[in-house]
Amino acid sequence: MRDIKSFVDAGVIGHFPGGIHPPERKSPANTVALRRPPLPSELILPLRQHIGPSGQCTVEVGDKVLKGQQLTEAQLSQGLPLHAPTSGTVSAIEERPMAHASGLPELAIVIQPDGEDRWITRQPLPNYRDCDRATLIETIQKAGIAGLGGAGFPTAQKLASQKPIQYLIINGVECEPYICADDRLMREHAIDIVAGIEILQFISNAGQVLLAIEDNKPEAIAAMREAIDGSDSIKLRVIPTKYPSGGEKQLIELLTGQQVPQGQLPLDIGLLMQNTGTAYAVKRAVIDGEPLLERVVTLTGDLMSQPGNVWALLGTPIAHLLAEGGFNADGDARVIMGGPMMGFTLPLTDVPVIKTTNCILTPSLQELPPAADEMACIRCGACADVCPATLQPQQLQWLAKAKDYDALESNDLFDCIECGACAYVCPSEIPLVHYYRKAKAEIRNIAREKAKAELARQRFERRQERLEREKQERLERHRKAAEARKKMQQEKAATETSDAASAANKPAQDKSSAVAAAIARAKAKKAAQQAANNTSDEENS
């Protein structure tokens, strides 16, 4: 395999295994200019919006907040702070249903906008090149920026890595059908994105930037090409349309010819990947001093009469966006957050837009027919042919159904990126990814249980140890006490023996002397009697 540098210098596009070509359907949503819906009547800001723990709430119910005011406190490596997307009043801090397939509630700050949209004092850093790296990373951290592409990993944490970065990869691939948020952003804000890329490059000290866009976005490609014109270090890479070429690992293989070794991060091989939307947010945070308050969301699907892309404030209820998109409600409809491949259906629409919400898709039944009944696997191998991780999905499916968790792990279940390509092509319409997710959750549960059991076992063993130790100590103490007593007794006995030796003679003497005395007394008495008798005899005679 060629090394990264010679591969990149050759300017070629690599290849990753598998992948599919589902209907793209980026239009009509990508043909309409970005627009800004009216302010919703309330904004729901869940404390947890991204990977990692949630911040500490710093406001109270009833507080007036300004646009951009920090609502939660979070340290680097501990999560991200949250900001008020507009000015208004904190009307509640309570559990609200979340943007998750379960719709389960989580703690959220609810803000009632006052309509004035008044900013706090911003601290822009237009001359960021005069700042040091740590200051800029802190600025980005304080702006609450998470990766806007998918997983929502805190951007500052990635940037704070001490590993040397050879290439900064900017991901404008947007390979999932329907979604065109990055497409519109690149068309309309190319210069800002490039400014953000330059900040990211400055912070990461990357020698070169590779900007990747799929070839189904000619307008975005043209706009970005123009914006980077004159830059020596930013190279545009137009990659062929194939799903999931925007996946981090897949894009790295396309651009560098390398696979990220298992168990390592792109950072470990000198690569840093950021999404175009993230680059834009970084520009706003550093140069304009504006924290992350809004993002582009694609509103699309046949059930929307006004599809397009909108600037949605974080916390905007999905119902508000559905109204903006002209959604024709239908009880049988699916409201999908995300794209058709990896998105999840929302049971409720009063859940909010969060930092990772890139698309709201409301397909008709004809457009994306619901899954038919699952049939048996015929081992046709279509899933293995399209798997970008070169797994054996059919094998994993059997193992998942058999709940053979050890074998699932040895068959690398955890290398599955859940892109859904396998389930898309499966002729038996087996919901493969669903099985994998379930198996992964069960394996994690088992590991947790095991860890718990292990902890309990250790605790038990330590307790047993302690009890045993205490018992031994007690026994030892008793033994010692007994010994001491014994010793004492022995000592006592020893002195008593010598006493006894003398004492043994003494009573004997006493005894004999007493007897002698008694005899002597008796003799004396007898003698006295005899004498008296003799005297009386003498007197009488």
Binding site: P177, P261, L348, M375, A384, D385, A389, Q392, H434
Partner: protein, 358 residues
């Protein structure tokens, strides 16, 4: 308002299993037409009997297993098994042959192993082998190609023969196979095998009327028609090229080499390619995904193994053709092949070849 909940992905490609199976049947049509042209309309009666038996057996099994019989019939896998077995047996074989074979294929080979997707062996071929070893006479009674035959049977005569083992005029199948000279017509593969065992050379065997073409009168056209059907399957991406190419390479390369070294006793690759069940086996039988290897490399090896076994059995075995035996033997080695051909997973430095078990 609550909305419908579904698991990702929300879209699906157009291909589904039932359609794929249906297309396998469509792609068999050219071969069946040519076969009926050369060997009579008996094949249609066999198809009818096989399909009825397969559907009845499948339904009964599903009912016995408390499963939905209708959904099992709709997947068309029983249909494919029935069709493959029906076109593999001599077209005038008595009715109970196909009934026993199909019932065995469905009940024992498929359903007892757990139904669709669970069978270790190719059901049609396991049924075929059962019939071949149990009823060798009926299973080798191939009529001569119509162009060489003395008698032309009407539909009624054909049906009568299948039902009662004699034509309405009282001829047995054995008699129908006999030429005016009193010589029994055999298949090209049989003819070569017999000739070679009697000390004749391949060239001398080719003097026989049934071999008076490139690879046997009738049979070569049947094979070419199945090859055409195979191309349809490839073009529609219902099968991948690995198994057919592997099988043909495994059969034809040894045949070519052997023919170059010993032309008098070893028939050449063209003969092997166009005789017996070569093309049917390569494109329709060995490609049954359930009982084949799964990875592309594994499939190539699986195909090569079948092809090589076919050549070995045809050359030295006791039976004239060998596709069924070769397929079953290869089915047996699938777990081994699958284990050693697992591709390496993204980011893992080496493949797991044979490492951890399943």
């Amino acid at each position: 308002m609550t909305f419908r909940v579904a698991a990702a992905p929300h879209g699906h490609s157009q291909q589904n299993t039932a359609d794929m199976m249906r297309w396998v049947c469509y792609a068999l049509i050219p071969g069946v037409l040519v076969q009926s042209y050369f060997f009579g309309a008996g094949v249609y009666f066999q198809l009818f009997l096989a399909i009825v038996t397969a559907y009845a057996a499948e339904s009964l099994c599903m009912l016995a297993r408390n499963r939905n019989a209708r959904s099992a019939l709709r997947d068309n896998t029983a249909l494919v098994t029935a069709v493959l077995l029906a076109i593999s047996i001599p077209s005038l074989a008595p009715w109970w042959i196909i009934v026993i074979g199909t019932a065995f294929s469905i009940v024992v080979v498929k359903q007892i192993y757990g139904g669709m997707g669970q069978n270790l062996f190719n059901p049609a071929m396991a049924g075929y082998v059962l019939l071949l070893v149990s009823f060798p006479v009926q299973m080798t009674n191939w009529l001569p190609p119509s162009t060489l035959a003395n008698y032309e049977l009407s539909l009624w005569q054909t049906l009568h023969t299948i039902l009662f083992e004699y034509t309405p005029a009282g001829y047995s199948v054995e008699q129908l196979r006999t030429t005016v000279d009193g010589v029994t017509m055999a298949t090209p593969l049989d003819t070569i095998k017999t000739a070679l065992s009697q000390g004749y050379t391949v060239a001398e065997a080719y003097q026989q009327p049934v071999l008076s073409a490139i690879a046997g009168v009738g049979w070569q056209w049947v094979n070419l028609a199945f090859l055409l059907g195979g191309f349809i399957l490839l073009q529609r991406r219902i099968i991948s090229w690995h198994i057919p190419v592997g099988l043909l390479a495994g059969l034809l390369i040894p045949a070519l080499v052997a023919n170059l070294f010993a032309p008098s006793v070893m028939p050449g690759p063209v003969f092997h390619a166009l005789s017996g069940a070569t093309m049917l086996g390569a494109f329709f039988i060995a490609t049954d995904p359930v009982s084949a290897a799964t990875s592309p490399r594994g499939r190539l090896i699986f195909g090569l193994l079948i092809g090589f076994l076919v050549w070995v059995i045809r050359s030295w075995g006791g039976y004239p053709d060998a596709v069924a035996f070769a397929v079953l033997l290869a089915n047996l080695s699938v777990p081994l092949i699958d284990r050693y051909t697992r591709p390496s997973v993204y980011g893992h430095s080496r493949s797991h070849g044979g490492g951890d078990g399943q």
